[in-house]
């Protein structure tokens, strides 16, 4: 043969080689299949529509008044602490006015628990008399100083607890442990105020004092109420949600004997007054609380808690507003898988790889395109669903825990990133398995099934904790809006919106799964014939 003709030269302008072209091609691929675009839109609609379903609940007798007195039973008044968080502020307070700097010292000679015998939240005095029960680990008896009379005011307190020794706490969320001692012996406590600073000290003998901690309460007025307090939180619920009702904790009370009460500093003349603070508050509180003077001090019975509010009845986080995320998750898993398995099924992968022989880059471009699409869809949908769900919950008379704007942003973008990474995981498993049914099932079993098993309490708590640490479902921690407080006993479970890992760590677990799967997929794509 003879090549008489000159070799062909194309007139097309020379193109630059860039990864952007690959992204452009994969994006064109995605947007030109109408079913895929519709699927992405469906996931957005699902998240928004299910925000309606999730928050659908009718309550009557909303408690919006400024004080608990206006609240009906079961419709709590929730005070907000200085940091903006929902708090419990309920205790028995024996107090006087402190009109400047000064200190109060007392010995807690005994702290005992009182068992509730009835089933309801309130029991009569007769139930308590002569019915000593176990003292709650976080029952508190000690000295406190509050900035104002409204619930949720700034305060600082030093106290003896049921099982956690001496603590200094202030402004609900701050907690410092004092010298570790058993509660059997008498304990001396002292609270000293100078200006904005409050110092809590403890002593075993009333002579040798140790500072537990100090607190600066900015803007503390000159005149404050200070004195003795006793409170005892309700027991932690023992069960998850079951058939629609929350198996709540039971109210408890504690009884403390205070003696050797001495005051120093600017205490104007006056009497000690007893007050049941926050009674009828958000936590079920025993009614039979009070105080009576005893030798050189008081015997005080109190119930409730001074702490961040956790597990309030008829109070919700973003969780119900985000119900649709799980629907979207499954929809996007199918989408992410099909974005690659559709190519294998038709042999289109050959065309793709002939056009872009560097296979790792093809996979990366695909992953970025599906991640971007699902991230934007997820962010848009959750940014609508959360305010919508919150409004609906409130309009139905429910309480929604306040959260900071930063936290809301983390939930919105965290959820969007969770959807995006799950879609990438689906894409990667689709590339590894090359079969859609197996890949879709694998991803759903990895991320949806663990969450389901945990939230319906199908597995024991120990297994549940590990499932939420080891499986990609750990990433649901990005939806946690309430911090977990060690000073409040509660069933901190995913069902109530608490996850064993921090949001960033949980997210990193999913990220690791997605990256490893993507790495394996890239390896398989590069080393095996297409």
């Amino acid at each position: 043969m003879s090549a008489t003709t000159a070799p062909y030269r194309s007139d097309l302008p020379a193109g630059r080689d860039s990864f952007a072209q690959l992204l452009h091609a994969e994006w064109t691929k995605f947007r030109t299949v109408r079913g895929w675009v519709i699927t992405a839109v469906v996931s957005v609609i699902a998240i928004i529509v299910f925000a309606y379903l999730g928050t659908f609940r009718h309550e009557s007798g909303v408690c919006t008044g400024p004080s608990p007195a206006s609240c009906q039973a079961g419709h709590p008044h929730v005070p907000v602490g200085p940091g903006g968080e929902a708090v419990s502020d309920s205790y028995y307070f024996v107090h006087r006015t402190l009109a400047g700097d000064g200190s109060v010292t007392v010995r807690v000679s005994s702290l005992t628990g009182l068992r509730q015998t009835g089933n309801g939240n309130a029991v009569s005095t007769s139930d308590l008399v002569g019915a000593p029960g176990p003292v709650q680990p976080w029952a508190k008896a000690g000295l406190t100083l509050t900035a104002g009379s409204t619930l949720g005011s700034a305060y600082a307190a030093v106290m003896l607890t049921g099982a956690h020794g001496v603590r200094m706490q202030y402004d609900y969320t701050h907690d410092t442990a004092g010298p570790s001692v058993s509660i059997a012996g008498a304990r001396w406590l002292r609270l000293t105020r100078s200006g904005d600073t409050v110092i809590g000290s403890a002593s075993a003998d009333g002579t040798h004092w140790t500072v537990v901690s100090s607190a600066r309460l900015a803007g503390l007025p000159a005149s404050v109420q200070a004195g003795l307090f006793v409170t005892s939180p309700q027991t932690a619920p023992s069960q998850q949600f079951l058939a629609g009702d929350r198996a709540g904790g039971q109210a408890t009370a504690a009884n403390a004997r205070f003696d050797r009460l001495t005051l120093e500093g600017q205490w104007p003349a006056g009497r000690w007054r007893g007050q049941d603070v926050g009674a009828n508050g958000q936590t079920s509180t025993l009614t039979s609380v009070g105080s009576h003077p005893s030798s050189g001090g008081f015997t005080v019975t109190g119930s409730g808690d001074i702490a961040p509010a956790v597990g309030l009845p008829a109070a919700f986080t973003d969780q119900p507003s985000l119900t649709g995320v799980f629907v979207a998750l499954i929809v996007l898993i199918v989408l992410g898988t099909m974005f690659i398995t559709a190519e294998y099924r038709r042999g289109l992968i050959h065309t793709t790889l002939a056009a872009s022989p560097r296979r790792g880059r093809v996979l990366l471009a695909k992953a970025l395109v599906i991640a971007a699409v699902t991230f934007l869809a997820g962010a848009a949908a959750t940014a609508v669903a959360i305010p919508l769900g919150t409004r609906l919950l409130r309009s139905h008379g429910n309480y929604v825990y306040p959260t900071s704007a930063l936290t809301e942003l983390r939930v919105v973008f965290g959820t969007a990133a969770l959807l995006a990474l799950t879609a990438v995981l689906a894409l990667a498993l689709g590339a590894i398995l090359r079969r859609s049914a197996a890949a879709v099932t694998a991803v759903i079993v990895l991320i949806v099934l663990p969450y389901m098993l945990v939230i319906v309490a199908a597995v024991p708590a120990g297994v549940a904790q590990w499932l939420m640490r080891l499986t990609p479902a750990a990433a649901f921690a990005v939806e946690q809006t309430l911090p977990q407080y060690h000073q409040v006993d509660y069933l901190y479970t995913p069902a109530s919106g608490f996850y064993p890992l921090a949001p960033a760590v949980g997210f990193a677990v999913l990220l690791a799964y997605a990256l490893i799967a993507l790495g394996l997929a890239g390896h398989r794509l590069r080393t095996t014939d297409a």
Binding site: T5, Y8, Q21, H24, A25, W27, K29, G35, A354
Partner: protein
């Protein structure tokens, strides 16, 4: 870039089965090279190896001296059509071309050009899933032409085309080659390549059987053959055989004679007094030439010692000769 395909000593095994067994050939620009062989001979595997889709155990396949995988905008240098069915059925033809164009840094203007060149204007916005095989072949050809490449690799492009489409395809391929492109077209139907291919690479069971120009192949196959029409068939056969010719009956009044020039045949028949109606120099079709070639190849291979474990890959591994035209 030099518009040639060089295949050097390709070996490819699928488990125990040897698909390519030291295959080497070169495709030069300026003509259509037919790539032929029976089913399972390794044509598609070779093409996939050239395109970097399948790895090979040994050997190399280079395009203009470079491996395909190292090309930065491969479709601007090599256009390929492997499987016309490789489409997302719910994507329109135009959009299928569009994403391919984007992957090569090309715009929608080029897409419209190739749609026109492939004669797909009327259906470009329809979902490709509803296309007939012939239309898919045109779409595949349009995709191969997107980057205006100097090298084209087409696997069975005539499949599913109607006669009109086949005529169009032949003309299209010839014009591409005339522009100086290297065009490698595989087929198992020689009739399709008739009047199209200028060069032929024939393979069988993963090995090169022939690498020849079509003209040479037909000449060789026709060489020394004379077609004879006579009523007195047996007399003619006896006379010619006595004169040292090889004679085969090809019809009730037709014989094919080899070993004697046509003048000598006329002379022998005249001397023997055998009447005849026509003596013509025989011209083989490409089909016949190819059949003869592969028959020889099969015989050659059968005589060859050495293990050939298992049947070759492909749907009909037992078939060693070309299929008859359907």
């Amino acid at each position: 870039m030099d518009a040639t395909i060089e295949v050097n000593g390709l070996h490819k095994r699928f488990g125990q089965t040897v698909a390519l067994d030291g295959l080497s050939f070169t495709v030069a620009p300026g003509s259509v090279t037919g790539f032929v062989g029976p089913n399972g001979a390794g044509k598609s595997t070779t093409m996939r190896a050239i395109l970097g889709l399948d790895s090979v155990n040994e050997g190399s396949a280079l395009i203009g001296g470079r491996p395909y995988a190292s090309l930065r905008h491969p479709l601007r240098q090599v256009g390929s059509l492997l499987d016309a069915g490789a489409l997302q059925p719910s994507r329109s033809a135009r959009h299928h071309l569009l994403w391919l164009a984007h992957s090569q840094g090309l715009g929608s203007g080029r897409v419209d050009q190739v749609i026109e060149a492939a004669g797909l204007q009327a259906v470009a916005r329809r979902k490709a899933g509803g296309f007939s095989l012939g239309m898919r072949q045109r779409l595949g050809l349009a995709a191969a032409m997107l980057g205006d490449p100097a090298v084209l690799i087409l696997d069975e492009p005539f499949n599913g085309m109607d006669p009109e489409g086949i005529v169009w395809m032949r003309g299209f391929l010839r014009s591409l080659a005339a522009e100086g492109r290297a065009v490698l077209v595989s087929s198992h139907l020689m009739s399709e390549l008739q009047d199209t291919a200028g060069h032929l690479v024939v393979i069988g069971r993963g090995r090169l059987v022939a690498d020849t120009s079509v003209a040479d192949l037909i000449d060789a196959a026709s060489a020394g053959r004379v077609a004879l029409r006579t009523h007195a068939r047996s007399e003619a056969m006896t006379a010619l055989a006595n004169a040292g010719a090889t004679v085969a009956a090809t019809g009730p009044d037709a014989l094919t004679v080899s070993g004697l020039a046509s003048e000598r045949i006329v002379e022998v028949l005249g001397q023997s007094g055998v009447p005849f109606a026509e003596v013509t120099v025989h011209r083989s079709t490409l089909e016949e030439a190819y059949m003869e070639l592969t028959r020889d190849a099969v015989q050659f291979r059968a005589a060859e010692p050495g293990p050939e474990p298992g049947p070759g890959p492909g749907p009909e591994p037992g078939t060693r000769t070309a299929e008859a035209p359907r």
